[in-house]
Amino acid sequence: MKFPAYDISRYTVRQLVALPIALLIISLLFLGFNTLTTGMPVDPGIDFAGGVAVTIPPTADSQAVVEGYFSEYPLKSVGEGVNGGYYVVFEYMPDDAFLSLSKVINEHYPDAKVDQIGETFGKTLQAQALWALLFSFIGMAIVVFIVFKNFVPSIAVVISAFSDIVITAALMDIVGITLTLGTTAALLMLIGYSVDSDILLTTRILKRKGKFSEKMQGAFRTGFTMTSTTISAIALMFVVSWIGQIDIIREISAVLLLGLFVDLMNTWMLNAGILTGYAGGDKR
């Protein structure tokens, strides 16, 4: 049981928060730039933009063959699964086109999974998802402030959670995961995960007696154990859903996985840094 030797009190507050803050700012700029150029911070999937997504079970057909079948339709992307299946995404098309596409799919791949979302319905979903994110975040912040009643520790938790979501969203866009209902849910779940380790850290530091560096060390040990068990569960979920072509679970687990690593950084550098500045190291 070797724990990573990470003695937080060896670093100054500035050293601790510099990296997470820099990444947060870069991510905000990146998402802001996306919003200005495309209207959305992260490339929206069919749930929000409208379109058709088709999961084709393992087949002997090559990618070119699959593309050939669908060349008349507004093909957006074709992804190949590890099991020889495909995940094909089309941009929004009118009902008539979709009906004829349905026939084509049914003819070649009768066992495919097909999902279609209309443009207006996508907009409605998008608005609702935005509200959901906003409500969740505000609700979380209220709980945190009620529990700690202290401005600095509370705002530290809220900022780390915010930063978790923002940096994860930016990473999503970079690795090509679209914003869908599933990935929105994952971002919301991240609020829960993020606060989990932050609250552990804050409670240990503020409510326990003892030397600051020891409390920090103990909190880190527990927090790291926690996050690593969660990461192992989510990682397995990702691998199985990837092999098994369960797209919605693959998306959710991919985002959670990214988010958990981002959370490790934000909890143990950003939040721990702010708390070090607030509660003071052992020197004081």
Partner: protein
Amino acid sequence: MSDDNDGGLLKTLKDWRVAVMLLLVVFSVVSIYVIPPGISNGMTGNLQLGLDLEGGSWIQLSFQSEVVRFDTDENPEVFAARIGEALDAEVFLFEEDRLEIRAPFTREELEPVFAENGGSIVTYENGVSKDTADQIKLILENKVNNLGTKDARINTITGLNGVTQYIRLELAGVDIATAQEIVGAQGKFEIRIQTIGNETEHVLYGDSIKSVSTPTQSPPGSDIWGVGFTLTQEGAAAFREAANTYGATSNPDAHEIMMFLDDETVYSASLNPQLAAELKTAPVRELRATTGAGEEGLEDAKKLEIHLRAGALPVDVEIAGSGTVSASLGEHFKVMSVIAGILALMAVAATVYYWYREPAIVLPMVGTTIAEIIILLGIAVYLQQLDLASIAGLIAVLGTGIDQLVVITDEVIHEGRVPSQNLYMKRFNRALGIIMVAACTTVIAMLPLAVMDLANLRGFAIITIMGVLIGVLITRPAYGKIIMAILSKKPGDHR
């Protein structure tokens, strides 16, 4: 084991926290497998499975109509009638100041019309009133029941303002083409009559059909199937006039009666002699379309009945979204989900073993997590169907569950010493405090998803919330008791 240890174990089992957990595990296993049909359904027992695990199709429909709250000094009914006339659309005043307009108009199009008629628009929303939504739901249920699917769910999605924006159909074991055929497009139904050669003339539209019966045999027991339907007074008059004018009553075979749905022939037959004779003297409102004998005749009759009902929806609908999963792919997802769950559990067990290296801690931890999942599934039998998104929720819960057991464990064996009873309870309560706050935030973060109509994610949110609540209220307190009993027997450094 000495008697003393047995006594301790028994005492732990008798602790109410542990007892409640064990009872709930038994309750859940009984709910899933013992209550019929239970185990006869196979691996998944009584669990309600979503379409993506079972195979089937869903369609979400939106309405080509809007609900307007208006303000006027005039009598609302008179005002509503005038608006209907001005728009040349059907309107329905369902509350004193709320009007349902059954044709697509934008707010900008409506505003001048309201102003001209001495009123103004207060709010404007796409959708229909609850009454209309219920009526549409009933019609769709009829259509779906005729198909004989074993499992169909139809839900209206209504906002807090009482306006229904969507209606969602989930049809197990039905492919999307069939689902679209039944409910998607609202057809234009027409009866035409053959005049000379291939020429036909219009007789009546679907609005002249007052009611449609389910397939029946005529004469009873003959295995000759058909569908009876009733025309309106005007419809019957038009039918009689056409039959007489074009000579169907005198020479039925040369002048078939044809039914069209969206300009495609769905049925054609000649008048039977008895009906032809009756029509010569008076209009007939009760008609019957015979489809044939045996199983095939029955199937055709079912389809014809749906066709006859087409156009009966009071409001035009549009497909907002739809999806389908084949039964074989659903089965594959089911197997993969179980594998994902089991592997995730094993990964978690391996990770905690790596950190603690102490079976006395790892076994209760993993055992408690398994109990938590069994209880969650058991309660889900009554509350929530499981789809792929909720499986992701389940595994996410497994992750947080273990997290919190780690918090409890580390808190109570802090500094490697097993604490006294008093100190133990103090630390345990502090750990529960951390957990409560974390649980609270997760529940709050998930709440919007559970109440909003982002249909695909409800399952994820509800399973996560249920899992967190079960954890905080039942399994984590029980774990605290179990780990205390075990630690007090095995003093030593566990980290």
